[in-house]
Amino acid sequence: MKKVEAIIKPFKLDEVKDALNAIGINGMTVSEVKGFGRQKGHVEVYRGTEYEVNFLPKSKIEVVVPDSIIDKVISTIIEKAKTGNIGDGKIFIHSLEDVIRIRTGDKGEAAI
């Protein structure tokens, strides 16, 4: 099993989710994070004084998948999250020791 962690632009979230859904992934966990990277932030001005806001809002998708479909998942995310502009984000792949479904106690791939 692998855990795929993708940092993407927030407005791409729904598209990515739907596409993953379409290839049979029916579970994922999403959180709001702030990203810092090549893409530079924006400026806010309060009463004439400017502040650079470096951190940009990003969405982090975490999805655990069996080894078999990892490539498909990655290509799906890339396809949907890509705009071609700086700031599109990153995908990180971890290997996972185990997964357990709390409701049933199932372990391993059966629990995904």
């Binding site: 001005v45 309060y46 009463r47 004439g48 502040y51």
Partner: protein, 435 residues
């Protein structure tokens, strides 16, 4: 903390003594009702409520939304507690020291301590005196609360409570007496329709002095936590200001109408003027700019509202959108004092501007009590400068002394750690949002 609480209770109990001493005689006098006007009375009850609303929740929202999230409640608490404390002290002794019989142009006499002698039938011109008393109370309260804008995010709440008591007593009361209570500035002919000098210069200068004594915050940047509160606060302030300025006619008449139209005009023009100044200066018209401009316009028109004509109000509005803008965007960063929410930059600067322009634009066709430079009376401008100058010097000095006293007694600044984690938690044990 305990020491502070006990001391405060002792003070309050002592003051309350007057209340009960005077209790039997209260409202025994003034049984005749010569000339009450129900229309004027109706307007002045409402005007009083409107000015009350300016502090709570108006200013509390305006300031609270500008504060950082972790300091929002403390900022609101400063306005809230001040309104309550001043409400009590004003009745206890504030009213009489301002509006009691003049003692050598400097202070009112003690005749009406705890409103002794003021009854249900007492009148102040055409309205019940009780209403006039509360109307004036609301001015005292907001003046103190305004100053808090410069102190937030680092001042101990207990120190603020003391500041409220001392500053209201030793700064607001005398200055209000000088200008409105028949004191020496009134006799000199200083014009201040609704409080440019008494309220805004006064609070603004106190703000600056306090900011200097308190020193810089660790994170000395204005990063508003909730601008929807700021817009709400600005709207309520504008709404309430109709009571502030048109209510200062103390009647429902044409003068109130003039104050109304001037107030709205100056606020609107200043908001636009600030917006365009900013648009050219930093390339973005901000919502905070609109709100700040509106408040600056309201401040600047305050002394002038019942004296100038519409053209005057337009000029005042335009300048009120430009000068305070540069004072906060350019001058403040250069000088480096930490006036957290620009209480000096907006109220001090626009208040002074308004006081001076009143001396220029006062049009006797609006109000024959005031004739400015443009209408052939250059002396008025001098008078205005004197009144502003006297107030600035007096306020600066006494505010400094008050801060020194409080510093010695309870300290004025919270511990560094508390400043970083936020005053809401350290001073009040609460947090503004659990969303």
């Amino acid at each position: 903390m305990r020491r502070f609480v006990i001391l405060t209770i002792i003070i309050l109990t002592f003051i309350s003594g007057f209340a009960f001493g005077g209790a039997e005689t209260v409202s025994a006098v003034d049984a005749e009702e010569p000339e009450i006007d129900t229309g004027d009375t109706a307007w002045m009850i409402v005007a009083t409520a409107l000015v009350m609303l300016m502090t709570l929740p108006g200013l509390a929202l305006f300031y609270g939304g500008l504060a950082k999230r972790k300091d929002t409640l403390n900022t609101m608490a400063m306005s809230f507690a001040t309104y309550c404390i001043v409400s009590f002290l004003w009745i206890a002794y504030g009213y009489t020291f301002v509006f009691g019989p003049d003692i050598k142009g400097f202070i009112g006499g003690t005749e009406k301590l705890f409103l002794s002698g003021v009854g249900v039938n007492s009148l102040s011109t055409t309205i019940p005196e009780f209403i006039f008393v509360v109307f004036q109370l609301t001015f005292a309260a907001i003046t103190v609360a305004l100053a808090s804008g410069a102190f937030i995010e680092r001042m101990k709440f207990s120190a603020w409570v003391f500041f409220t008591v001392l500053w209201m007593t030793f700064v607001y009361l005398p200055v209000a007496h000088w200008v409105w209570g028949g004191g020496f500035l009134a006799k000199l002919g200083a014009l201040d329709f609704a409080g440019g000098t008494v309220v805004h210069i006064n609070a603004g200068v106190a703000a600056l002095v306090g900011a200097l004594v308190l020193g810089k915050r660790r994170e000395a940047a204005l990063k508003p936590s909730n601008l929807t509160l700021v817009v709400t606060g600005a709207g309520l302030l504008w709404f309430g200001w109709f009571g502030f300025n048109a209510g200062s006619a103390v009647a429902a008449n044409g003068l109130a109408g003039a104050a109304l139209i001037n107030t709205n005009m100056a606020a609107a023009v200043a908001a636009i003027s600030w917006m365009f100044t900013e648009w050219m200066h930093t390339r973005k018209p901000t919502v905070l700019g609109l709100a700040s401009g509106a408040v600056a316009g309201l401040v600047a028109i305050t002394p002038a509202a019942g004296f100038v004509n519409i053209s005057g109000s337009v000029v005042i509005g335009i300048l009120a959108g430009i000068l305070p803008y540069f004072s906060v965007a350019t001058i403040k960063p250069k000088l480096g004092y930490d006036d957290s929410l620009d209480a000096f930059g907006i109220h001090g600067v626009a208040g002074t501007l308004g006081a001076i322009l009143t001396g220029i634009f006062a049009d006797p066709a609006i109000n024959d009590a005031g004739k400015g430079l443009l209408y052939g009376n250059p002396g008025q401008l001098i008078t205005q400068l004197i009144a502003a100058g006297v107030t600035i010097v007096y306020t600066a000095m006494v505010t400094l002394i008050i801060f020194i006293i409080i510093k010695a007694f309870t300290g004025i600044r919270v511990e560094a750690e508390h400043e970083i984690t936020g005053l809401d938690e350290s001073q009040h044990g609460e947090k503004a949002y659990s969303l």
